[in-house]
Symmetry: C2
């Protein structure tokens, strides 16, 4: 497997799992403990912990432990990195289409 941008790999991989997206959506509304994140999910706490670890490895989530409670919060800059990757490709695609359109039927207003 190529390894050209490990972080995007991890971010998209993290987002590819529905349970992890549920966690992300919960954290959008504010920080939460692991057991709070676990509540709506049909799996063991240990399973949720593993999802949190995947999210944290991707940079989408940060967490810190105070007392016996680990509080997780979202890291929006990582979310933006992923969004930007997609947006840049879409933009480039549209730009190419424009160039192609001009070539196929030149706009009189644009030509001298």
């Amino acid at each position: 497997m190529l390894d050209q941008s490990p972080s995007l790999d991890l971010v998209f991989h993290a987002l590819a799992d529905p349970s992890r997206r549920v966690i992300v959506e919960r954290l959008i509304d504010g920080p939460a403990s692991v057991s709070e994140l676990a509540r709506p999910l049909p799996m063991s706490l240990a399973g949720v912990m593993q999802h949190v670890q995947v999210l944290e490895a991707s940079g989408l989530v940060r967490s810190e432990k105070v007392g016996r409670v680990r509080t997780c919060r979202i890291e929006p800059s990582t979310l933006r990195d992923a969004e930007r990757w997609i947006a840049e490709r879409r933009t480039e695609w549209a730009r190419r289409l424009d160039r192609l359109g001009e070539f196929l039927s030149p706009d009189p207003k644009e030509s001298s």
Copy 2:
């Protein structure tokens, strides 16, 4: 009803692989055959075919075969679906922060 926008699971999973992102980036610049897509990738043609199938299953790529060559092209609407999912979460996150900010230090201009 047709499953017109296949699940985000498949889209994000497709984007999580660097070889597949290379394929997507190539297709942004216009349609290409499978062996053209394969050229920069250090793997067998059959391996590339499998990546193309994953991309097609996700809705990110469409392809059609003419003669003996299969031509692949990108499907930007699927790319946009993924982008939108992220953008909506980021926006919601920012909105929440605003509300929180107002609550913590009310802006005199906004209060009666």
